[in-house]
Every structure is written in C-alpha cells, then in structure tokens.
C-alpha cells in the first residue's frame, strides 16, 4: 500500500498570517461610501454657503476698517452695514453646532447597528479577517475621514468668523473663547466630530438598532456638548481674577460677584437695598431692576466699601484650551472605540 500524502493548503498551518489590513480599506469604502458622501455633501453645502457669505462679510469688514476719518457719518454707516451680518453669523454658528452630532448619528451609529439589525455580522465575523480586526479596520479610517473633513471645514469657518472678533468695530463683541464659537474653530470641531462618531459606533453596538442608536447618539452628544460648554470648559485652567472692573479685552468673562467689607458675598437683593438708600440713583432708574453694569452704580458701590470680583479666562488661552479640549476628546474617542472593539470581541451571537 502506498503512503498517501494529503496535500494541505499552506495557509492552514499554525503560522497562519492575518489577512492584510489594507484589504479591509476597500470593504470599508464600499460599504460606507454613501454615508461618507452624505457627510461630504452636508459639509460641502455648508462650506459653499459659508464661503459666499464670508466674501460679503470680509468685503463689508474691509470697507468699515479702511474708512477715514472713523468718526465721520459715512464711516458709521459702513460699520452699521458690517454689523448687519452679525445675526446671520450667529445663526450659522448655531447650525454648525449640530453638524458633529449629525455625522455621529448618521455615519457612526449605523456602522455596527446595521450589521446587528440585519444579521450580516454573522457573515462578516466568520470571514478569515477576524471580527475585532474587522471592527477596528472600519472604525479607525471612518473616524479619521470624518474628523479630517470637519477639521478642514473649521478652517473655513475660522476665516469666515474672524471679523466678528474685532474689538474696535464691535461693542457687544464675541470672544474666541465664547461657548457658541469656541468648539467650531481650531482643533475642537474635528475632535467633537470624532467623539460624536465614536459615541455613535458604541451606541450602535450596544443598542443594535439603527434608528434607536441614531437617536441615542444625538441625545448623548448633545448632553456632552452642553456639559462641556456650560460647566467643564471654564475649569480647564484656573480662572484669573480682576477687582472692580470687567474682564479685559478678548477675555471670556465667567462670573462677577460683589463682596462686602467683611469679605462676605453680597446677594442681589442686599445690593438692591443698598441702592435704594442712594436716592440719586434709584430716582433716575425708576425702581426697576438694578443695572449692574452701569458705571455710576458700580462707582457708588465701590465708594461704599463693596468690592466687585470678576473671574475670567484671558483670550491668550484660546490655543491652550483648544489643545486641552482636543486632547480629552481624542482620549475619549479612543476609549469609546476600544470599548466598541471589546464588545464586538466578547459578544455572543
């Protein structure tokens, strides 16, 4: 009897090498090109709008700044014309706040939720590529793609919005650290978009239903963005204090508080009583609300031994704050993606 050698496929021995990562690139692209195209279309349309609007804004701004003498009536009219763009700019800033949430919900959430909902994970996770590598090879390139697109977009937004930070033309000015615009510029916009994508991916894996995961992503992202803007950001670095004055120049004013001679904080009602005792002020104001920012009121209170402490973050901290926010959002995104991969690894069908 002749010995029969069974021809084994060479790949089947123990030293089987993994299927190369680059092969997943095509798969990821093929499956998510419509989601990516949707995100690109959204950002593209907004970019065109921003660019056209930005041309008008910069034109009006240049005319107002170049006008001499600045005190003339004609120059005042030019400044007034420039200021008509403020309302639109604020609307645009509000609209853009929703962009990372939408990208997270419509690009991030379906990546795994759709596989779970339609059962195709049973196909994908039993191919030779391996399920955790498959997950990573989807989430990382998609996350980088949406973050890069958002980053490019925020450069355009920074250019568009720059004139509105000008102190000389604009009395009720916004500062770069203001919550409404801080996260649309610098590295923050890209970082928020990446975080929204990672939230979406994890929500999709946990919830396994596209629509529910999408809604959950919007809710969680909104909560996180509000928490960061209203509470977290002002604590990135210890705020500075200034006595008996408003915060300087481009600073982000966080709070103001009057203190009595004893060092005790004074409540609004107590201040009201003090001001009632000042007939020359109370008569002029008609007894309504007390205008705290009125210089004569402040002067009166300071003269009577009260101290106004203002806490603020100086405008020079814009970039440190950007890196801090970008840093923790990047760490959070990495953590969320790692958690998603871990869930995929351990999930039993």
């Amino acid at each position: 009897m002749t010995a029969l050698t069974v021809p084994a496929r060479p790949e089947q021995d123990a030293s089987l090498r993994p299927v190369p990562w680059r092969r997943m690139a095509w798969v990821t692209w093929r499956q998510h090109r419509f989601a990516l195209a949707g995100a690109a279309a959204l950002l593209g349309a907004l970019a065109v709008w921003l660019w056209l609007e930005g041309l008008h804004v910069h034109h009006a701004y240049a005319a107002a700044v170049d006008c001499h003498p600045a005190s003339s009536g004609a120059c005042g009219a030019l400044v007034g014309y420039f200021l008509t763009y403020v309302a639109t700019a604020q609307t645009i800033a509000i609209v853009l706040q929703a962009v990372p949430a939408l990208i997270g919900a419509f690009v991030g959430a379906p990546v795994l939720a759709r596989e779970m909902e339609t059962g195709t994970f049973r196909y994908a996770w039993t191919q030779g590529f391996g399920r955790w590598r498959w997950t990573l090879a989807k989430l990382v390139p998609l996350g980088i793609a949406v973050a890069a697109a958002a980053g490019a977009f925020s450069v355009l937004f920074s250019w568009y919005y720059q004139p509105f930070f000008t102190q000389t033309l604009f009395f009720n000015n916004q500062v770069p650290l203001d919550p409404g615009v801080f996260d649309l510029r610098g590295v923050a916009f890209a970082a928020w978009t990446l975080a929204a994508f990672a939230i979406g991916a994890l929500a999709g894996m946990l919830i396994r239903r596209v629509v529910t995961a999408l809604a959950a992503t919007l809710a969680v992202y909104t909560g996180l963005a509000l928490a960061a803007g209203l509470y977290l950001r002002e604590h990135y670095l210890t705020p500075l204090l200034v006595k008996n004055a408003d915060a300087p120049g481009s600073a982000w004013q966080i709070s103001q508080q009057w203190y009595a001679k004893s060092g005790q904080p004074v409540s609004q009602s107590a201040l009201g009583q003090v001001l009632q005792a000042a007939p020359q002020l109370a008569g002029g104001k008609g007894g309504g609300g007390i205008p705290q920012d009125d210089p004569t009121v402040n002067q009166y209170l300071v003269q009577h031994g009260y101290t106004l402490w203002t806490t603020y973050q100086p405008g020079s901290r814009f970039w440190p704050f950007q890196w801090i926010e970008g840093g923790w959002l990047l760490a959070l995104s990495a953590l969320l993606i790692a958690a998603t991969v871990w869930l995929v690894r351990r999930r039993a069908a």
Partner: protein, 315 residues
C-alpha cells in the same frame, strides 16, 4: 486523515436563565455530510454558532478542525459559514459581494464563483437584496465554497427555499463534499432532503444530543417490526424506540440488526432515515449514542400512538 471537524464535550450555552444547549458531547469525523436535526428550539443554531466562534460556551468546550479553538485565525480560515436566511449586504451588487468576500479571506476562488453564478443565471450587477430567496441562498453558498473551506457549516440552508431550489442547493453541497472533499455540517428541520445527502446524523432535542452516528450504522442497527397489534406489548422489554399502531397492526421501531431473530408472526423491515429520525424525535426519552463514555443502552417506552400522519417535521 482521522480528524474531527467538530468535537464537543460537556458543551453548554445559556442565554439568560435558560440553557439553549446542555451537556453536548459529540465528535463529527472529517469527510462527512453531517446533518444536525431537531425541532425548532432544540439548540441547532446555538451549536453551530459555538462551532463557528460566533458564540462562546457557558460550559464545557468545543474545538474544530482537529483541536482548534473556534474563531481562531486557522478556524476562521478553514470554516465557511452560511447563517440562517443567508445574510448578505443587500445594497451591494453581486460583484461587490464577491469582492468583499475575496478581500476578507486568504483564499478565494474567483473563477469558481463566477462560473457558478453564471451557471445559476445570477446577474453580477444586480444588488444582492434584489435577488430571489433562492438566488440569495445560492449566492451565499457560492461565496462560502469559493473560500475553499475544509468545513462548510450551513444553518437551515433550505428552510426558505421552494422544492426545486432546495434540490439544486443540496446538489451543489453534495458536489462540493464528494468532488472537493469538503466536510459539511448542516442543520435542518426539513428531513426529506437529508436522506439523499447526509451520511452522518446528529439528533438534537431540547438542548441535548439524542442520537449521533454514521447514517449507515444507525440504519443497520434499527429495524421496523410489523405484527398484530395485540402482541405489541409483549415486545416492550426489547429495546423498542417507538410504537406506531395502525388498525390491527403495530409497527415497532427496535434496536436490532438484520441478523437478529424475528418473532413468529412478525415481519422485519429496514428503516429509512426520515422514519428513524422522526421516531426518535417523537420519543425524546430514547437515545442512541456512540462511544463508551456516553450513556449506554437505548431506553424505550412503548407508547400507543396514532398512525403516523405526516408530521410538521417533514413539512
């Protein structure tokens, strides 16, 4: 090669508080078309998910392809799995599905896949979601076979197919098994197709293995005895698996070989695979398991049952 494509010992899987599979011990040898049969909820899908690495055991252990861990790179490479309802990316074209599968695996026989799809008249540019149910099943099977697996695992592959599509599908599976030496493990609650293709049978019932073995051995060790109904109870002490009474006659399925003596007044007939499986499924207490480590002799209770009408198992 004397290898077990799937080997389980004391394997169990619990979902929440209920056991989908319990104390499952079996060894499916290489080179077979093994059929995993049982009613709905018997644990067939659970066992297959454990074997392909989609699920992890709650108890015991399972290995594949001669001792490999399910889900390990070698196991993933050597096992092609078609899940129930043949999940495909519905918005991708057939060509894209081929391309995706090729990119996700070491080995993919593009020529084979294209030739098979041409044979089946499945248009390459159509979206997978727009194919008929039979075509989707065929596409999923083609993708699996083009990977040139050592083991092909199919979960309820023909449940959604009409009789013609079912026949065509099984013909392809059989060709792969016979010509290319692919081991096949398929689950089904449709018994009629199995007789033609399966040469190894595993019967699952209520999360436990009730019968397992080579079909030829199982058929050779069972006979149907036909005789007067009044005498049926006299043979209850024999290893009777199942009793079926029709008018004056009783049919006993007994554990016996062709050489065993037949009682006077009775006739012995060989049993068919479908009949055998049905009889065991109707008697969840009966068991026929190979190997010395397993619970030994078959137990049987002679229960008077109505003449066997076609059960839902056969559709």
């Amino acid at each position: 090669m004397n290898m077990n494509v799937v080997e389980a010992s004391g394997l169990g899987k619990r979902y929440g508080g209920t056991w989908a599979l319990r104390e499952c011990t079996l060894a499916i040898p290489d080179g077979h078309v093994a059929a995993l049969v049982g009613p709905n909820g018997a644990g067939k899908t659970t066992l297959l998910n454990l074997a392909v690495g989609l699920a992890t055991p709650s108890a015991g252990r399972v290995t594949v392809l001669g001792g490999r861990a399910p889900g390990s790179p070698v196991a993933l490479d050597g096992i092609a799995f078609v899940a129930q309802d043949a999940p495909l990316y519905k918005n991708l074209s057939v060509t894209d599905m081929l391309h995706v599968t090729r990119n996700l695996n070491h080995c993919f026989d593009q020529g084979y896949a294209e030739a098979r799809l041409a044979e089946l008249d499945i248009p390459l540019n159509r979206k997978a979601g727009r194919l008929s149910g039979g075509q989707q099943a065929q596409l999923a099977l083609t993708l699996a076979l083009a990977r040139r697996p050592r083991l092909l695992v199919l979960d309820e592959p023909v449940a959604m197919l009409d009789p013609v599509a079912r026949h065509d599908f099984m013909a392809i599976v059989l060709t792969a098994a016979l010509d290319d030496g692919v081991s096949v493990l398929l689950s089904s609650h449709v018994l009629t197709e199995l007789e033609r293709v399966a040469d190894y049978l595993i019967l699952l019932s209520r999360g436990r293995v009730q019968m397992a073995g080579e079909v030829d051995d199982l058929l050779a060790s069972h006979r149907v005895l036909t005789g007067p109904a009044g005498e049926a109870d006299r043979y209850a002490e024999r290893p009777v698996v199942h009793v079926r009474r029709a008018e004056a006659q009783a049919h006993l399925l007994v554990r016996a070989t062709a050489n065993d003596p037949v009682p006077p007044g009775w006739e012995a007939h060989p049993v068919g695979l479908e009949e055998l499986a049905l009889a065991y499924l109707r008697e969840p207490g009966a068991a026929a398991l190979p190997g010395p480590t397993l619970p030994g002799p078959a137990r049987g209770r002679a229960l008077p049952l109505d003449a066997g009408e076609p059960s839902e198992m056969t559709r």
